[in-house]
C-alpha cells in the first residue's frame, strides 16, 4: 500500500528546475504522478469489487462523511451565533469578575496540585525505601526493668557493736559532707571608702 501512495514533487527540486529553466521536467513528473494516481485508483476499484466487506466499509465511510458535512452546514450558523453571543457575554461579564481573585484562586489551585504531587512522590519514595529495607527497624521503647524483690537478710554482723558504730559515724559524716559550705561568706571584708579627698 505504501508503494501506491502518490509521491509529491520535492519543492527544492522544483525550485531548482524552475531556476535553471527546466519546467518541462516538472510537468512530465506531474503527469507521471497523476497517471500513477489514476492507475492506483483503478487498482483499488478492482480490489474493492473483489472484497465485499471492504466495499461496505467504504460506503459507510462515505455515508458518514456526507452526514457530517450536512451537519456542519446545518450547525455552523448556530455555532457562529453562539460564539458571537459568548464573546459579547464575556465582554459584558469580564469587568464584573475580579481577575485578581481568579488569578489568586488559580495560583492556589496550582500550588495545591503541586503540593499534592510532591506528597504523592514522597509517599511513593518512602514506601519504596521501606520495601527495600533502607529504614532501620523500629527500636523497641525502653521498658523499666522490674527490680527483683530481695528480702532483707541480715548477716551475723548486723548487730555487731563495731559495725553499728561505724555505720552511725559514717551516716553523720556523710550528712556533714553533704551540708559542708566551704565559702566563708559571712567573713567577706567590709566595703569601706578609703579614697578620702578634698
Amino acid at each position: 500500500m505504501a508503494e501506491n501512495k502518490p509521491r509529491s514533487i520535492n519543492p527544492i527540486k522544483k525550485w531548482f528546475y524552475s531556476l535553471i529553466g527546466k519546467r518541462d521536467v516538472i510537468e512530465t513528473e506531474v503527469k507521471t504522478q497523476s497517471e500513477e494516481k489514476e492507475n492506483s485508483k483503478e487498482i483499488n476499484q478492482i480490489e474493492i469489487e473483489e472484497d465485499s466487506v471492504a466495499s461496505d466499509v467504504r460506503r459507510a465511510k462515505l455515508f458518514l462523511k456526507s452526514l457530517f458535512e450536512k451537519m456542519v452546514v446545518f450547525v455552523n450558523p448556530y455555532l457562529r451565533k453562539g460564539v458571537s453571543l459568548a464573546g459579547s457575554a464575556r465582554k459584558e461579564i469580564s469587568p464584573l469578575v475580579d481577575k485578581k481573585f481568579i488569578r489568586l484562586i488559580l495560583k492556589i489551585f496550582i500550588v495545591f496540585v503541586m503540593v499534592l504531587i510532591l506528597l504523592y512522590m514522597a509517599l511513593g519514595f518512602v514506601r519504596r525505601l521501606k520495601k527495600e529495607g533502607v529504614f532501620l527497624p523500629n527500636t523497641p521503647t525502653p521498658q523499666p526493668s522490674v527490680i527483683p524483690y530481695n528480702p532483707y537478710n541480715p548477716s551475723v554482723y548486723n548487730k555487731d557493736p563495731q559495725v553499728i558504730e561505724i555505720d552511725e559515724n559514717l551516716k553523720i559524716l556523710d550528712r556533714e559532707l553533704n551540708n559542708l559550705n566551704l565559702r566563708e561568706s559571712g567573713l567577706n571584708p567590709p566595703s569601706l571608702d578609703w579614697d578620702i579627698k578634698f
Binding site: 532483707y152 537478710n153 541480715p154 548477716s155 551475723v156 554482723y157 548486723n158 555487731d160 563495731q162 559495725v163 558504730e165 561505724i166 555505720d167 559515724n169 559514717l170 551516716k171 559524716l173 556523710d174 556533714e176 559532707l177 553533704n178 559542708l180 566551704l182 565559702r183 566563708e184 559571712g186 567573713l187 571584708p189 567590709p190 569601706l192 571608702d193 578609703w194 579614697d195 578620702i196 579627698k197 578634698f198
Partner: protein
Amino acid sequence: MLKKCFYLSILVIFCFAVFFKVSYSQSVNEIGLDDYEEETFEDIYEAYLGANEEYKKAHDEYILKRAQFLRFQTLKSRKDAFDATLSMLKNRDEVVIAYLKVLKASLLKGVGLADERKNELFLEIDNEISWFSNHKENLSSAGSLEDLVRDSKFAADRWSQLNSLIYEVMSVLSQGKVSHLSVRLEKIFRASKNKFESIRNEERPEYAFDTSKIELLDRWMFEAEGKIDRSKEKQDEVEKIIRGNYQKKIVGLNLYNSVLSKLSESQLYMKEASNFLKEIIKQIRTK
C-alpha cells in the same frame, strides 16, 4: 602542832591556786583570748554589724558635708566637713577593728586547725587591731582636713596590706573544715578496714563470707582508700597555695577562690570514699 600543819597546808594550797590562776590568765592574755571566751561569736559578729551601720551613717554625713564644703568653701562648711570626716574615719577604724575581732573569733571557733597556726594568726590579727586602735586614737589630734586626708591614706595603705591576712584566715578556716572531716573519714576507714580484715580471717563457717563477697569488699575498700588518698593530695595542694602565696603577701581573692576550688575537689573525693564505705558496711550487715 597538827592544827598548825593543817592551816599551813591550806595556806599553801590557796597560794598555789591563786598563783596558777594568775599565770593561766596571763598566758591567755598574751594572745588575747580572754574576751573571746566570755563573748560568744554571735555577740562579736553583732557588734561588727552595729559598727558597720554606724559607719554607713557617718559616711553619708561625710559625703554631704564634703559636697557642701566643695561648693561653698566657707569656714563653717570647712568645720562641718572636718567633723564629719573625723567621725567617719573613727567609725571606719572601728569597723576594721570589729571585723578583725570577728576573724579572730572565727579562728577560735574553727575546727581542724593546728594550735600553732591559730596562734600565728592571732598574733598577726592582734597587731592589726592595735595598729588600727592607735590610728583611731591619733585621729583626734588632727588639726585640719589635710591631716585627716593624710591619716586616711595611712589607714588605706595598712588595709591593702591586710588583705592577704584576711584571705589567709578565710582560707585556713575552709581548709580546717575539710581537714576535720578528712581526719574523721580516715578514722572510720581504718575501723572499717580492721573489721573487714577480721571478717576475712574468720574461719568459723557461720561468720565467714563467701569468696566473691570478700573480693567485692576488698575491691571497694581499695577504691575508698584511693579516694581518700586523692582527697589528701588536694589538701596538700591547698596547703602549698596558702603557705606559698599568702606569706608573700600576695593579695588574695583569686587565691582564695583557687583554694576553695581545690577544697571542693577534696570534698568530692571524700564523698565518693564515704559512699564506698557505706556500701561496704551495708554488705557486711547483710548476707
